[in-house]
């Protein structure tokens, strides 16, 4: 078993008082709570903090831990695989400092197996033939998968207790069909892939919450898509027809004359093909040609001479 330096995890001295530990834990718990901190790894970190606090906030466990830790080098850092909290399946966080009916020989089981223990105890409270609890996990897919629908194999990491009482990560691979038109935040239900039922109750369901990888040029918002479209100054000023990518392929877009920077144009029904389909919003971004040749400079100079244009006229008074 890997030795964990719980003091380092909470950032406190070995001599820290109970109050110091409490303060350190509370501060870190707010910082890394996975519902508040969306960075990869926050869930792992949060669990570690919880585990460290669970031990260090309980005088008996702390004493046992201190004794056990003698002669060990303060921790090789536990290195969770990158992105571990993505596709992580959970029913809840281990209870915090649950009352101590645990006996000492089960010390490590208690330390590393709480998630399971809690789950078991919640089964015990349930009716005899009850349906298993539902599980939730988040998966990250390509936006394109939603344009046409797709079949994807996903791997979820499920914490399980090994026979010797250690928490191990089991990988579970599932085939999932991504329905066409799925939006961020929607859920796919896999029937009976949640917790096993109790007695004759059937298993719970597994819900997968959809999120998208950032896309090269589309920004999804619900079932609408936003696209920044670079245009030349003359296209914006004189109008013209340009080609625009949409989930269904390239389409022609008419740019009206005298379009301003940032003009938003709606292509109805060209967003994510949900029911009803979302819209595609094209936002014009006027790109200036660089004045990097005599000819280009000449044209700019002509414009300066010929056009009566002062974008700062409203600043002229200075007050």
């Amino acid at each position: 078993m890997e030795y964990k330096d719980y003091y380092a995890i909470l950032g406190v001295e070995k001599t820290a008082s109970e109050d110091e530990i409490k303060r350190a834990y509370r501060k870190l718990a707010r910082k890394y709570h996975p519902d508040l901190n969306k960075e990869a790894g926050s869930e792992t970190k949060f669990k570690e903090i919880g585990e460290a606090n669970d031990v260090l906030s309980d005088p008996e466990k702390r004493a046992a831990y201190d004794q056990l830790g003698q002669g060990y080098r303060p921790g090789e850092d536990f290195n969770p695989p990158p992105g571990w909290d993505q596709g992580f399946e959970f029913t809840g966080r281990p209870g915090n400092g649950g009352a101590g009916a645990e006996d000492f020989s089960d010390f490590f089981k208690d330390l590393f197996g709480q998630a399971r223990q809690q789950r078991q105890s919640s089964w015990q409270q349930a009716d005899f033939n009850s349906r298993g609890q539902d599980h939730h996990a988040r998966i990250i897919i390509d936006l394109e998968d939603s344009f046409k629908g797709a079949k994807r194999q996903i791997t979820l990491k499920v914490p399980e207790l090994s026979p010797d009482g250690h928490l191990v990560l089991k990988h579970r691979t599932l085939d999932v069909s991504i329905p066409k038109g799925v939006r961020e935040g929607q859920h796919i239900r896999l029937k009976k892939q949640g917790n096993p039922g109790h007695g004759n109750g059937e298993a719970g369901d597994l819900y997968l919450e959809i999120s998208f990888k950032p896309h090269k040029f589309y920004h999804p918002e619900g079932s609408d898509l936003y696209l920044d479209l670079p245009v030349t100054p003359w296209e914006a000023a004189l109008g013209g027809k340009v080609k625009v990518p949409t989930p269904g392929g390239m389409v022609d877009l008419n740019i009206p004359a005298n379009s301003r920077q940032g003009r938003k144009m709606r292509l109805k029904g060209r967003g994510i093909p949900s029911k009803p389909p979302g819209d595609l919003y094209v936002v014009l971004q006027i790109a200036l040609p660089p004045a990097n040749s005599d000819k280009a400079r000449q044209i700019y100079q002509n414009m300066a001479k010929e056009l009566d244009f002062n974008p700062r006229s409203h600043l002229a008074t200075g007050s």
Partner: protein, 100 residues
């Protein structure tokens, strides 16, 4: 494997929700009373929870339990988080436009 998309049209009742996520009715009612989710009217037997509601309620409950909040506090946190997310999205769009 049977597999279906949950739309906002598939709803479950308060009892089914308790079964699904293992929370007590009291807990769930406290969130509805705080206005975290709008599940339709005062009659608890007619409440309808969508998948989005369920996930929101579970988040609120985890925050309440893990950070020693009360229902009003966790609902406030979630509302502020939603605002921050919205602002971050807007900011990202502006920054990307600016880089062109």
């Amino acid at each position: 494997m049977s597999n279906n998309l949950i739309t906002d049209k598939s709803v479950i009742s308060l009892n089914e929700l308790c079964q699904s996520c293992g929370l007590g009715t009291k807990t769930i009612i406290s969130y509805v009373e705080e206005g975290l989710v709008d599940v339709g009217g005062d009659d608890t037997s007619r409440w309808q929870f969508t998948q989005t509601h369920i996930v929101t309620i579970q988040k609120a409950h985890r925050l309440e339990r893990d950070l020693r909040l009360n229902p009003a506090g966790s609902v406030l946190v979630l509302e502020l988080m939603a605002q921050i997310d919205e602002l971050k999205n807007q900011l990202r769009r502006y920054q990307q436009s600016g880089e062109e």
